[in-house]
Symmetry: C3
């Protein structure tokens, strides 16, 4: 069955007609603002090389863990979607065949954010006019594939067409940042910056941790197995990132644990974790310690600190063994911020020169922990609804549950947090529409005047993002 | 005061008039679909014997823990409602007097699902035209009592009038299933099947566990105190249930804990729990082990597995001593699915031939744990909002919190989960109305086209239930 | 920029026009009811002395931890708001200057309850006609300051103008209640009563616990270091409070833990905590024990028991050292009621002569724990949305999440719980509007008839408060 593909101009606005009118006006007020992307996972190389993207499958399906996990959950083998197990040899599947499998299952994404994002990409970028389905799979594959070969669909052209003002990628301290260097040397006006993500060299349970310390030593000409030198090596890399435009760090630990150790305790702990496989307890304590250390470094060098805790990575052990990371088996866990962050807050929480942006996968902490913490500590701000909650309902829960306690000014606008470059405008558009709808309800309930709401809409879309991330 | 009793045709639909119109159309589309009841607690004997139900009190009040707990919480003695303490001798209270007590307190159920269900029963089944209250108590008692004696109100007649397609009861492996056998032999066209609920013989803390193992031995001609024979006895009973139509098992443990033990560990553990009173730790570990074992058996014999964890049974010790179980003192507890299910998922989570349906009493797990798990593992599906959450608001929270991550196709439609046979159509009607209202909002927000919503409404009401439960 | 200050008559009502009309009618039905304040933190001295309040800053800003924490979180030093560190000497800041700082930041309270409450105070009490901002700061300071000196703005006159029927303050057992005595002797018709809050003499971790036991000894002529005498001293003080009008106690423990100890265990535990600094474990156990003891005393003397658990007091250690308590660094923590209250409930839960009112800062317990507990145990009732959740969205979540399981009749109406006397009518008005909006939705969804909703509105505003608190 072939259905028309329609992006309704009122999509995601409140259903009450009066409130919808207010939302529409607020949205018109901010829809033209530039897109600011302070946190994400696109690749600097795309923009450095400016080569055409690959086929529709490689571009839109195989790197998208939202799509893979849903299809897999419904019995679709990952191999049939073009993924190749790391553990076996063999030919890759034909991209068109895999695309057809995806297309035939597209209805399972009804009412999910993936559908919202993809339909926008299909309609707005590729000008497709019918819904994706088994019947339109080939048309999609051909139309998208052809357009991707044209100049207008190269990374830089799309960046400009999307109205992006700045786009942050994420790199390890071990990355040589060659593409970021190349971009700065290229003379292109786009602003692509890196985010400093030190997990590989601060998490003793990171795969190959000791080898990574060795690489850090080599890269910095310091002995990263010696604790003071290790810290200095991290400072060196932060400084290098900052010199290339980086304004923020990011930390993705299993919990939000922080610690305050004496210098002697820290040195001894580092001695243990750097010299042999760490016990689970030592690993957790070292990560906790390093969050506090990193907050101290941020106070020194001005990098904004982001903490993304609470994901159980690679929960599906068998699938991880076969396909590796990032295929959708990361599952949220309960997170305690009030207890876990106390050591860091005891030391740095009152520093208004420091900005620590907190994220959560545990929505029960929005009203109970995060809003009260951010509504008190000068160093804390709240990141937007994250990952599984980066969705219309998720964003509404975020605004409804944090605003009354934290206010708007302890929040930092939207993150698209994506490697799906083409969907960036769609994701920001969803956030803008949901925020305008939320503000419209406040106006219709006479909790805010409409001109105040318009001002806040600009703040949430642009001003707070720039100021929180020091962009 | 006598108030009219009105079931408004638009009840439970969204308040916005435009959205309400969509909901009405969606509801018209599915209202005539058969009722499928894959999980519940009615009694096979009712349909085997087809004898008239008893008086209004016995039928509608004394077996309904929702009613008893609420009235008790407000100071109404259970004795005055016709319950008789197990610990004392004495005459039962007059049924009409108890009914009057119930009627005089009927206003305390305002805005609860009990009120929705009962008003439907009163209006639709018994054609009563005034609200229940002290003033109408006798009229109700007489009118209901008289009708119950007529042929049209016998169990089979009601089953047919309700448009039920299949109705699952729940039995222990020790049940002889005589009424299910009788029903199959009777030639009646109704489809009544059992659900295999092994708690009495897999939970070492179940009252009389050792006696139950002895009974299992006798029933199967196996030595259920010998571990391999015990497992075979369970397989035998599963096969017998399946031969009489059973398609599912059900497991009601205090937590969602699962375990993966070696054969030797399992044998030793069984040795301990089968020979003497189990320690709390051994009991929990054995239950955890048996969930994993049962998943393996389900993979072999195709029975769908339901897990209903997280209820603290008989929390009110004094009341339990006086009146026994099921009088409303079961209270939900926090449940952790991501950690607790991992052993089972490590072993069977990737099996798309296995279906494990998860339920929860801890709504904080909907978006944080259950939707991400079901949205990844092929073996997992999400059961509907359960027990305290089987209500308009509870169902809305379920849909709002799971749909964006798990989609519709990882859910399994509605369970009435009730022993209140007369309320079954009312309960399904509430679910259908709430689902149509939820879908209508998606349509009005332009997140779904109306024809897609109509298709999903059929799925949620009928198709997904039949396929998930293999009916 | 100068904006008009408008309190819209439809504020906080549902956005759907039909539902709003119902809400308006329900609100008209109850808006004239007296204000009943069964729990709060105003000072009896204000009404005993009936002296004019101080300047606008002292009256409205410096005692309000909601304001202080938000401003502090956004980098505003507490000193600039007129707070004086306890640890340093120096002159206080000029009140007008501090007021200007507050005014210049007033926009950060957009969409918070503080804004709702303050705007009401500004518009309804002081007849101000423009929003507070940097531009209107001086006008506000002058207009409010002048009016506060007039007779109509003295505490008793405002009490009468507000239509308050009874107002409960909160005092320690060590308080001599001189102002309550003076008020009873004064012949003034206002009803100001105390609430008995024994934390200082039952919590071994309370600052100066041993000195407080000594003070208790002196006050009661009993040896409060002897366990039986200690209990009798508490009974004496309860009786004294009750003789001056007290109808309730209040307990603010870090957790909801209760215990059931033998007499011997209790005696030994008291021996330890009363003779030397308590271990954390002993302190928690003694608090837990004393909650159960206090429930027993309540059963004897009829005082209603309130439990406000789950706040981590003075989470910001540095700020606490500098400024002391109550400047906004109290942060909620997860709370477990089902496990923690069991010892108390095992002993007293079935007593319908006892009333224990439960509050929470952990909204995840509303539907999972609190509603099921209150919907079963005769001794339990649910207090309203508390503290961070005393807000439009917080109240809606409370009603949406508890009503279907606990019903309306296990709730106790609204608490303003405030030391901000001038905001009391505003806070009750918010609660009334939100309740009417919630009821209106039930009416529009045909879950309740409008006359039933009107009856419930009176119950929630007045009847249930009076009966639950035995006023």
């Amino acid at each position: 069955m072939i259905r028309p593909l329609i992006l309704h101009p009122d999509r995601l606005f409140p259903v009450d007609p009066g409130t919808r009118s207010v939302a529409r006006r607020l949205y018109e007020h901010i829809r033209g603002l530039p897109i600011v992307c302070p946190h994400g996972h696109t690749e600097a190389r795309w923009f450095a090389d400016d080569a055409p993207f690959g086929d529709p499958l490689q571009l839109l399906v195989t790197p998208d863990h939202y799509l893979l996990r849903m299809l897999y959950s419904l019995g679709v083998p990952l191999e049939s979607l073009g993924l190749h197990p790391e553990t076996t040899a063999g030919a890759a599947i034909d991209a068109r065949d895999a695309w057809r499998v995806f297309a035939a299952h597209y209805h399972v994404f009804r009412a999910t954010p993936s559908r919202l994002w993809l339909d926008w990409v299909f309609a707005e970028i590729f000008r497709l006019r019918h819904q994706l389905s088994a019947d339109t799979a080939d048309e999609y594959f051909d139309v998208i594939g052809e357009q991707l070969q044209t100049a207008a669909f190269r990374p830089r052209a799309l960046y400009e067409r999307f109205g992006i003002e700045v786009l942050a990628t994420t790199e390890s301290p071990l990355d040589d940042l060659q593409f970021h260097r190349a971009l700065r040397a290229s003379g292109w006006s786009g602003r692509i910056i890196s985010t400093f993500r030190p997990d590989p060299v601060v998490d003793p349970e990171y795969e190959g941790f000791h080898a990574k310390l060795a690489a850090l030593s080599e890269l910095t000409d310091r002995d990263a197995f010696d604790y003071p030198e290790y810290l200095q090596a991290l400072r060196d890399r932060r400084a290098l990132f900052a010199s290339l435009g980086t304004t923020a760090t990011d930390h993705g630990h299993p919990s939000a644990a922080t610690a305050q150790l004496t210098a002697r305790e820290a040195q001894q702990l580092f001695g243990r974790v750097s010299s042999s496989p760490a016990s689970a307890q030592d690993a957790e304590l070292f990560r906790a310690h390093m969050l506090t250390v990193m907050a101290g470094m941020s106070l020194d060098d001005g990098l904004v600190m982001q903490i993304h805790p609470g994901s159980w990575r690679n929960h599906n052990a068998a699938l991880y063994r076969r396909f590796g990371a990032n295929i959708g088996a990361d599952i949220p866990t309960p997170t305690n911020y009030v207890r876990d962050l106390k050591p860091l807050l005891d030391r740095y929480g009152n520093e208004s020169r420091l900005t620590v942006i907190l994220f959560t996968l545990d929505e029960s902490t929005y009203a109970r922990e995060l809003a009260p913490l951010a509504g008190h500590y000068p160093a804390l701000k709240l990141g937007p609804a994250w990952w599984f909650h980066d969705s219309p309902e998720g964003m509404r829960r975020f605004r409804h549950q944090v605003t009354e306690t934290a206010g708007f000014y302890n929040t930092v606008g939207f993150n698209d947090d994506t490697r799906a470059f083409l969907s960036i405008p769609a994701r920001h558009d969803v956030a803008r529409r949901i925020d305008c709808g939320f503000l419209a309800e406040l106006v219709t309930e006479h909790r805010l005047e409409e001109d105040e709401a318009a001002d806040i809409a600009v703040q949430l879309t642009y001003t707070l993002v720039k100021s929180a991330y020091r962009l």
